[in-house]
């Protein structure tokens, strides 16, 4: 019946849901604990951040590559009774997708408030770089077309895409190295970051070659950690402690054709962002020109650049200029990965970049700036290193952020949020 239709509902549930709490463990190499213990630690931090009791959470979702602990265990530990849970297979770009699915679960009446988490010993157990036990398994079936050629790790798999971009557009190693340089500047002002040392372009291009075109410092860090965030509807979101980060739009695990061998299709230096942009900007009702701060997944320096380019933050082929222009720097026009991201803060399959943008939108990024008597940060907006009197990483006057999640050149997700 037409009278049942809520004509006030935003398109694609735009602005109807929010992230109300975020939390993480410390970023370590050698956590000395299970993914169950890490996961409960991160979720508890997110609950404390929001000020939400266990009794008001009834949904839980996670993703992993069989290297985590399932939701019901963590919920049980924390005294959360679940009306809904789902643990899926997935790595990078799953976080944004699960936020969309959490919205769907709530909208369908399956539950009311959902925790999304990722818990991983990415250094001390299942190594994200692919080394260790993972590298010695027999190769069969479809993997014969890749792993049998020593084409196995993420960096190896992506290298023809990265190399072809250099060939097609004249992108230089020094331009791309600026992604690491800038993220290292941001990480130096992040007390949580695993690598806080600022590096130079020379440091990057003179670091050990892993797989051309990737030097060691073009690759992300491997860490042990868990991360969590809490999604609920906007009508509940203001009942909790923090200013909600309102979700304008989401796109999840969007693919190029034939991702088992996407090198057959289209220009191989084009990535999934080319397809995502048409969904995410429609869903969110904004365009790249409205985005003030990005979280472009940096499994490698190149992944940030390729995505920013295909989402339309610059013209196709001009990604090298974009990332080396300084625009992505704190104090620049559109900072990227202000926490230091995967290259410096820690590797979480994308969750830490969303957490960072939630805190940015609150105006409460956890940098070295002091707090006032009401526990609010007094930001200096001085982005110099802390030892030079800086230590801030808050973006001023921030209204809209975008996360650009990456699984591989052929698959990605995106999330656009606004200040609540």
């Amino acid at each position: 019946m037409t009278t049942d239709i809520d004509a006030t509902a935003g398109k694609y549930l735009r602005d109807k849901y929010a992230i109300i709490g975020v939390g993480e463990t410390t970023y370590t190499r050698g956590s000395g604990m299970t993914t169950r213990a890490l996961g409960t630690w991160a979720i508890k931090n997110a609950m404390d951040d929001a000020g939400i009791p266990a009794s008001e959470i009834d949904g839980m979702m996670s993703y992993s590559g069989n290297d985590s602990t399932a939701s019901p265990m963590l919920a049980g530990d924390l005294g959360i009774r679940l009306n809904f849970y789902m643990d899926v297979q997935g790595g990078g770009s799953s976080s944004e997708a699960l936020i969309g699915l959490a919205i769907g679960a709530i909208e369908a009446g399956m539950c009311e408030t959902v925790v999304v988490f990722r818990s991983m010993n990415g250094y001390s157990q299942v190594r994200i770089g692919g080394t260790g036990a993972r590298a010695s398994v027999p190769v069969g079936g479809d993997a014969l077309h890749a792993a049998a050629y020593g084409w196995f790790s993420a960096g190896q798999n992506f290298s023809p895409t990265f190399m072809r971009h250099m060939y097609d557009y004249g992108t230089t190693p020094e331009q791309v190295a600026m992604v690491k340089v800038i993220h290292s500047e941001h990480a130096s002002n992040n007390p949580k970051a695993y690598y806080k040392q600022r590096v130079t372009v020379e440091d990057v291009v003179n670091s050990r070659m892993i797989c051309k075109p990737l030097h060691l410092l073009d690759c992300c860090v491997e860490t042990d950690n868990a991360t969590a965030l809490i999604v609920t509807s906007v009508d509940k979101a203001y009942d909790y402690k923090q200013l909600p980060a309102r979700i304008l739009g989401v796109a999840g695990r969007v693919c190029k054709p034939r991702i088992d061998m996407h090198f057959q299709h289209g220009p191989i230096s084009t990535v999934a962002g080319y397809y995502i942009k048409d969904l995410i900007y429609r869903n969110a009702g904004v365009g790249p020109e409205d985005i003030q701060c990005t979280g472009a997944y940096d499994a490698f320096t190149f992944t940030s650049m390729l995505q920013l380019e295909d989402y339309g933050f610059c013209k196709k082929g001009e990604g090298g200029d974009y990332v080396s222009s300084g625009i992505m720097r704190l104090g620049g026009e559109r900072p990227n990965n202000t926490s230091g991201g995967h290259l410096c803060e820690g590797y979480t399959h994308g969750m830490n970049m969303i957490i960072e943008n939630v805190r940015q939108l609150r105006g409460e990024v956890d940098c070295y700036c002091p707090k006032d008597e009401n526990d609010k940060r007094i930001h200096s907006y001085n982005y110099a290193p802390p030892e030079e009197g800086g230590g801030c990483r808050q973006v001023p006057n921030l209204e809209i952020t975008q996360n650009l999640g990456w699984a591989m050149p052929g698959t990605g997700s995106s999330l656009i949020m606004r200040k609540g």
Binding site: L144, G150, S159
Partner: protein, 178 residues
Amino acid sequence: MPQGDYLGMTLTVLDLDQENLAYFQHCADHDFHLQRCVDPECDLLRYPPGTACPWCSSREMVWVPVDARGTVHSYGEVHHAIQPAFRERAPYMILLVELDTQAGEPTEHEALRVAGNLVDADGNFAGPELVKQVGIGSRMRMVFADVADGLSLPQWTLDEDAEQPEAPWRYPQEVNGV
């Protein structure tokens, strides 16, 4: 079930994996074949082996011989090997070779781009002198590395009979002598 040791790795094709069985059997015969869609409206080849036509969804196909020569479309050059089997072979190249057959079809950016390592004419992994000669634009021909009955891997070597570009495009920074 074709199974064998290759560089210290166990490679296997399961008996129920009909698509890969046929693909690697043709390679074992040193006679490269790909699947061709039998729908006359489509008629396109595809790679890697699959269970339907990615261009028209037809499940009907036939294996046909394909001229296995082409041009390096892109590559990776591994200096820090991850798999134990490859540690002694680094630096080694992962080549993506665009076959002449069906290049630019069905659209200008589509092609059959077949993966493989750079090997010499005898099928041995390329040493640094050979690696230095190969980049985007190099003309390649296929050779086969025999692994077991019914299982050989296609690999790539420089095509001695083809005209090679004066300087194929290579990553600008030389490292470890390549």
